[in-house]
Amino acid sequence: MDELLRVRGLRLQFRSMRGVVKALDGVDLTVHDREIVGLVGESGCGKTITGLAILGLLQRPQAEITGGEISYRGEDLLAKSDKEMQDLRGREISMVFQDPLASLNPVFTVGHQIGDVVRIHKGVSRRQSREITLKALAEVGLPASDETLKRYPHQFSGGMRQRVCMAMALACGSPLLIADEPTTALDVTIQAQILRLLLRLREELGVAQVIITHNVGVAAQSCDRIAVMYAGSVVEEGPVVEVLSRPRHPYTIALYECLPHGHTAAELQTIPGTVPDLISPPPGCRFHPRCKHVLDVCRTTKPEPVQVGGRHWVSCFWATGQESGTHDREVVS
């Protein structure tokens, strides 16, 4: 499997009225050809920012990448000009967003909007772009007819609108799709349809995907690998079955135990404290003020990702100290 996307140690900050928001602090993410990777975490952990940073969609100078690398098929995306990035978006990497109604233009027909994308990226005639649009609609399970092309976004249901967005994202044959909470605005039965579609797109068109989601269930059912984010850092990354059945990072463990799945409310575990303010994040490991297993070293030093199994990385002094069987403050620090 070829490596498609590689993000290493990505650090990013925003300037705001209140100060500098250290939004990302060490994001590592690897996506191989035909692979579906879930980026999981709670609101404000930086999942969406990571997606936008990959596509170069963050507004400068408010957003500033202060470290790390993003490469796509070996090419450094951070070194590319705006023009080059624009050419790449939609042709190589595409994105679909949470709210399909907000990401479609209400005054143009669906056929017009998808056709625009095709003509801009492929430089083809109107007739050819129509053919390509119809094919894209069929691929996402919408009726490939003139009638569909002539409809406006409001004439579709939520699930169908998300399909339209996917058709637009994939019309130019992007090998990588970043789907930001693609099912969050949808009902469960429609969510299941969209998840099936994402898996089919991989089977039939070989589309690799980054699925950004807060829903551990969505990641568990649709991804090959997941990366768990907390307060701007990826704390654990690995094969989905391995990470969810044997989580190593205290945050992953705590997050999993918060899920009501099959528990009564009285049995639910909770995480004490709240997510830190990223203007003045805690030093060392950002999870340490809420961590059950906090060690002295966690308060001062940021843990680096350590491999604990086949393609399974954890950034945690406690988890990796325990792994070597020498779980002892002295040894770890």
Partner: protein, 332 residues
């Protein structure tokens, strides 16, 4: 004992073109819905958006006028009461909404928000009022340092705690929880669920819990009513419904929610189609256009709810029919 009993509740909304014009269409939001809640228990109304679960709850709270049907709360028929009597009875029914940022007045302090229902309804001295506000905040786990802050200074979970304190101010018997955790992150959701469960035990509260997330419902509910397009398709004790759902829609709903358990990968099933419009709902069983076991009778005749064990199921399929194969598999 049933604290709340809803019989044949129907709520229709008329669509009018222009002011004062006659109605051109009717939205069948809730049709012939009956349920009851035992005192001290939780009944969950579940279903997808537009199925009428919130409308049913709003009708219970007298926030929308039912088209027909009876609502008995604390042994009084609410439909026959005049507004003064109703106001008195409805003190005992309070509500917590989904989005705490829009349900709390941003210009009011926490103190005023929690004191407002007490000032409106309870006759108490200023000192009693202050003491009550403090004890309510403590009950929901908010410290006194928050007393003079406004809602924008709080996180979603804290706002929901304020909304809960407000709902509990008048010592209600019934609390309607309309998607109380849907806007929250899972770690915050867990803490609110633990709080709600604890309050129910301590205060003997009865909950009408509206939700779309079945895992949340499973952790909270004693009994369950599943709604689809204005009808209840299946209701009964939660353990029974979760353990062996009977109605094909209940099966589909359970199977389509993604389990976080990696052992259960590949068990997810997909139900085809979209929810039809409630303006002109399908004839017969409203689920028939999406049902994989559709029979001729389903397209013409509404299946009356009938008892299967401790449950009521509205389906023409024989009771011993195996509905477990509803939906097609998701490729994994």
């Amino acid at each position: 004992m049933n604290l709340l009993q809803v019989e044949d509740l129907t709520v229709h909304f008329h669509i009018r073109r222009g002011l004062g014009k006659k109605s051109v269409d009717t939205v069948h939001a809730v049709d012939d819905v009956s349920f009851a809640i035992t005192e001290g228990e939780t009944l969950a109304l579940v279903g997808e958006s537009g199925c009428g679960k919130s409308t049913a709850a709003r009708a219970v709270l007298q926030l929308v006028r039912p088209t027909s049907g009876a609502i008995r709360f604390l042994d009084q028929d609410l439909t026959g009461l005049n507004s003064r009597r109703r106001r008195k009875v409805m003190r005992d029914a309070q509500v917590v909404f989904q989005d705490p940022y829009s349900s709390l007045n941003p210009r009011m302090t926490v103190h005023d928000l929690v004191a407002e229902p007490l000032k409106a309804q309870a006759r108490m001295s200023a000192m009693e009022l202050e003491a009550r506000v403090l004890s309510l905040l403590e009950m929901v786990g908010l410290g006194t340092q928050h007393l003079w802050r406004r809602s924008h200074e709080f996180s979603g979970g804290q706002c929901q705690r304020i909304a809960i304190a407000r709902a509990l101010a008048l010592d209600p018997k019934l609390v309607v929880l309309d998607e109380p955790t849907s806007a929250l992150d899972v770690s915050v959701q867990a803490r609110i669920l633990v709080l709600l469960d604890d309050l129910q035990r301590r205060l003997g509260l009865t909950y009408l819990f509206i939700a779309h997330d079945l895992a949340v419902v499973e952790s909270m509910a004693h009994s369950l009513a599943v709604m689809y397009l204005g009808h209840i398709v299946e209701q009964g004790p939660a353990a029974e419904v979760f353990g062996g759902p009977r109605h094909p829609y209940t099966v589909a709903l359970l199977r389509s929610s993604p389990s976080p358990d990696p052992e259960e990968r590949g068990t997810m099933k997909v139900l085809e189609g979209d929810v039809p419009s409630a303006v002109r709902p399908p004839a017969g069983c409203r689920f028939h256009p999406r049902c994989p076991f559709r029979m001729d009778i389903c397209t013409t005749e509404y299946p009356q709810p009938h008892a299967v064990g401790g449950r009521l199921v509205s389906c023409h399929l024989p009771d011993d029919f195996d509905t477990s194969e509803t939906g097609s598999a998701v490729l994994v």
